[in-house]
């Protein structure tokens, strides 16, 4: 008797768990579905009262309109290059520094690591005005360099990879050293290849945050052809403030590359970003 009541309460629990999760998943996914459906509607169709859910036909007119109003090829290229250079810089410089802070002895280590911690604890906006002035002074506004500029070094990357290197047993490095490797070779040939998972996590983290960043690209690159997908969308918002089908098409175009990468590398994305969590 008792057993069967326990079992039925267990079933109820399972049903409730699924009910909540499915409801939650619907709330998460429906805005995206609505975005896709709207992107295939005409303006009068999208403004129907009562609302019609499905578009009358699948059409790409709104995407054509969005591409005409925004130089999407440039936006993809600018965003891609910004992400590429930021990732390369973050991985290269942070690996080197992270290794040195974790495994090497040198004078001033504490002080220098303090600089890393200071940067990490300050919000990026506190650097923006002087950074912008530097870029302007160099005459580098409206360039790819300007987009990459604040991301040339990554204090977070140093901190994160230092943790990783600290987790690698010292004996591995010592063995390589005894085999005749110098410090650089030990790092480059032996230690760095062991940090694949962390480097992948840092890559994804850097890419997603660079891609989402809005204030810096808006400030530094005002030329439409030099904007990123995010700042370009902000411009499109002003241009088509009431034409939601075109805005939805533009947003979909901007989201597509990252979402496709995400769906392919779900595990790496979720676990990578979660492992960098806290920033």
């Amino acid at each position: 008797m008792k057993r069967s009541s326990m079992e039925s309460s267990k079933t109820l629990n399972t049903v409730l768990t699924y009910a909540f999760l499915i409801l939650g998943a619907l709330i998460m996914i429906l805005p995206f579905v609505w975005m896709i459906l709207t992107s295939s509607k005409t303006v009068p169709e999208s403004n129907m009262i009562p609302v019609t859910i499905l578009p009358e036909r699948i059409m790409l007119d709104n995407f054509v309109e969005a591409v005409k109003s925004l130089p999407f090829v440039n936006l993809y290229l600018n965003t891609g290059l910004m992400i590429f250079f930021r990732v390369v810089c973050a991985v290269l410089f942070s690996s080197m520094a992270g290794y040195a802070f974790a495994k090497l002895e040198f004078k001033g280590k504490g002080l220098l690591f303090g600089i890393v911690l200071v940067q990490m604890s300050l919000p990026s906006q506190i650097f923006i005005i002087p950074q912008y002035q530097m870029v302007a002074k160099m005459g580098m506004a409206n360039t790819i360099f300007a987009l990459v500029f604040p991301g040339i070094v990554s204090a977070f990357g140093v901190f994160f990879l230092r943790q990783t290197y600290m987790g690698i047993p010292k004996e591995i490095g010592e063995a390589a050293y005894l085999d005749g490797c110098n410090q650089w070779q030990t790092f480059y040939k032996v230690m760095f290849p062991l940090t694949g998972t962390s480097v992948a996590a840092l890559t994804i983290f850097t890419a997603v945050f660079a891609y989402s960043d809005l204030m810096w690209p808006l400030v530094v690159n005002s030329d439409l052809n030099m904007m990123t997908l995010s700042s370009g969308l902000a411009t499109l918002r002003g241009q088509f403030s009431t034409n939601f089908p075109v805005l939805m098409a533009g947003s979909l175009l901007a989201m597509l590359p990252m979402v496709v990468l995400y769906l392919i590398f779900q595990k790496q994305f979720i676990e990578g970003i979660a492992s960098t969590g806290g920033k």
Binding site: F20, L21, G24, A25, M28, I29, P31, F32, M35, N47, M48, V51, M96, A97, Y99, A100, E105, F106, I115, V116, V118, Q119, L122, P123, Q125, I126, F127, I129, P130, Q133, M134, I152, A155, V158, N182, Q183, F187, V208, S212, L214, M215, L229, S230, L233, R237, F244, M248, G250, L252, A254, M255, M258, L261, F269, I270, I273, A274, G277, G278, K279
Partner: protein, 296 residues
């Protein structure tokens, strides 16, 4: 003299270390430390245009503290945190606990909840503007309401809070899920022999055990919320009459520094925000002693 004490091998190690941290340290000094000092200095200056400044002492701060828009932005920022952080954390913990149960399609659910994280805020807020649209938006149509979600000064903050919670739930849930998975199963087994109910189990086992993770997520979420800018900027453009009812400190910073061009005032606002973040952090670290459990 001291240098001579180092063995040649130790000296070589030290030289390599300097070469390896060199790019990072130079970069941080140029890109962050020097700008940080400059921003502090600029907050005591008036911007004369073309990057020239005149020292004016505390005038920016005096003016800032006398501006109602500034206090409104400060309150908006605090209100945004109050509206989004507790409820967002509660829902994230709920989702994390549901995902931690023995269920099918766990990975699929996780992927869906996490999806907003990889979409630029600029893109996702666009569809929310459409959903919230007062005339043709689907939300008003479904509920038969006539709420001006984005232009009514009394409602617009709520709309932004909804979008913020929706955007961050998956990320926070994934972090919390990692914390939940570290709780040894044996704790629950021992407890269920006692015949403890699910609710009691939550308060005696789950919450204390996950509290360190919850604390980290809360700190991170609070800091991000104090710095909120992009979401509100995309939801509420500068020409929207409701903008003062929702603009955060960082939104005001952006407008002062880069639209109005008063970089001295902009710097003062950002310094104020940093102090606010510092204050919030200190309060949290004192508060954690009351509820975060590091014993187990």
């Amino acid at each position: 003299m001291k240098k001579n004490k180092l063995s040649p091998a130790a000296r070589r190690e030290q030289n390599w270390a300097y070469i390896m941290v060199g790019p990072t340290i130079i970069g941080l000094l140029v890109l962050n430390i020097w700008p940080f000092i400059q921003t502090i200095y600029t907050s005591f200056c008036e911007h004369l245009g073309f990057g020239r400044y005149k020292f004016i002492g505390l005038a920016n701060y005096v003016e800032m503290f006398q501006t109602p828009e500034f206090w409104k932005a400060t309150w908006n920022t605090i209100l945004f945190c109050i509206l989004t952080v507790p409820l967002g954390l509660f829902l994230s913990l709920l989702v994390a606990m549901l995902l931690n149960a023995k269920i099918k399609f766990k990975g699929g659910f996780r992927t869906i909840f996490f999806l907003p994280m990889v979409c630029a805020p600029a893109a996702v807020t666009m569809v929310w503007r459409w959903i919230f649209n007062a005339d043709y938006g689907i939300l008003n149509q479904i509920f038969g309401t006539d709420i001006k979600w984005i232009t009514d000064p009394n409602v617009v903050m709520l709309s932004c809070a909804i979008v913020a919670i929706w955007s961050n739930i998956g990320y926070d849930a994934v972090l919390l899920l990692a914390g939940l998975q570290n709780i040894p199963k044996t704790l629950y087994e021992a407890n269920s022999i006692d015949g403890a109910g699910k609710v009691k189990q939550f308060f005696t086992i789950t919450l204390p055990m996950v509290s360190p993770t919850l604390f980290v997520v809360m700190i991170m979420r609070l800091m991000a919320s104090v710095k909120v800018y992009d979401l509100i900027y995309m939801m509420v453009e500068e020409t929207n009459p409701a903008v003062t009812s929702v603009q955060s400190l960082m939104y005001l910073f952006y407008r002062e520094s880069f639209v109005a061009g008063s970089r001295g005032m902009g710097s003062a606002i950002v310094i104020w925000t940093v102090l606010l973040i510092g204050l919030v952090t200190v309060i949290q670290f004192y508060g954690q002693k009351k509820w975060v459990n590091y014993d187990v």
